[in-house]
Symmetry: C3
Subunit: 136 residues, 3 copies
Amino acid sequence: MIKHYPIILRERSRGYYIITGEVLEKLPELPKEGLLNLFIQHTSAGISINENADSTVRNDFESFFNYIVPENMPFIIHDMEGPDDMPAHIKSTLVGSSISIPISSGRLMLGTWQGIYLCEFRNFPHRRKLVASIYN
Amino acid sequence: MIKHYPIILRERSRGYYIITGEVLEKLPELPKEGLLNLFIQHTSAGISINENADSTVRNDFESFFNYIVPENMPFIIHDMEGPDDMPAHIKSTLVGSSISIPISSGRLMLGTWQGIYLCEFRNFPHRRKLVASIYN
Amino acid sequence: MIKHYPIILRERSRGYYIITGEVLEKLPELPKEGLLNLFIQHTSAGISINENADSTVRNDFESFFNYIVPENMPFIIHDMEGPDDMPAHIKSTLVGSSISIPISSGRLMLGTWQGIYLCEFRNFPHRRKLVASIYN
């Protein structure tokens, strides 16, 4: 049995954010055993799993991705929405748009140091939508 | 209940292609509620979700991935099938080989601007196989 | 029906390893039809699908990822556990932490050249835990 829960995240400006708590708050009680699939409905933001403790990790992510996907690369054509537009599309494919996390004993089976990241690649805050699908 | 649908895509040469329509054509009517998992059975092509409207986005993807994974990097050893061989393997891991997309009301819950991309990393056209798995 | 199988992989030092056999050994007989979701419970290692035959491919992966995510990048702040710490977090997001592989006729539907990779990004051997979730 699968059930979908559309989740609207609060708006955030460019950066990397831990949203584990915000996602769980918007879901009903998790099943005993199951799987949670998260899918982000955007092409200029991504979701990933990474370190949940030290905020410098999220800062370093911002620095690193700007370093390998800088704005104004000479070969970029698509810039309709500004210089952060095409880099955002590229980053979203590098990071990915769906994750599946196992559920056991009614809890996400995340490792000790794992959190769910929202990666916002546009400069200005956007209202991002996830679909959380729980099957059991 | 899970059902698998092997899909053979038409051959395409190096580049990024929207295959949402081609995939849906080869599937039966989607269930009311469910999930579609797409898995590509190759190590020199990838699948991703990205912008479905402006073709310059796909051109920029081609330029960008050639820029960060160029051919003939001095440290590359594996070149049995030519200079596009190892870069194709690397790109396929960067982009990924499986995606899970929620299905609701008999339709893929893609965002307005999202399409399914086939990323063909080899120069010459290859016949690529996907497995589409629908569970509901 | 979903069942989870926690898998502890044998310790490996930095590098890329094919673990298809080791994973299958730790699972019961696969169902006739189903899906295997693999989730790695760490933020400094990743899992991916790539070439299963030529070991130079895995060496080239090591070289390439060290080239695009070198140690001691000047803007990196997070280095509590050493210079391989933050690059490992970045690589794990680039490579990913979950994969879904279809199962048919009691076998993984991998392509001819596909194997499951453990990507160990820390210098020293770590005991890595996966959760294998089988649903059918």
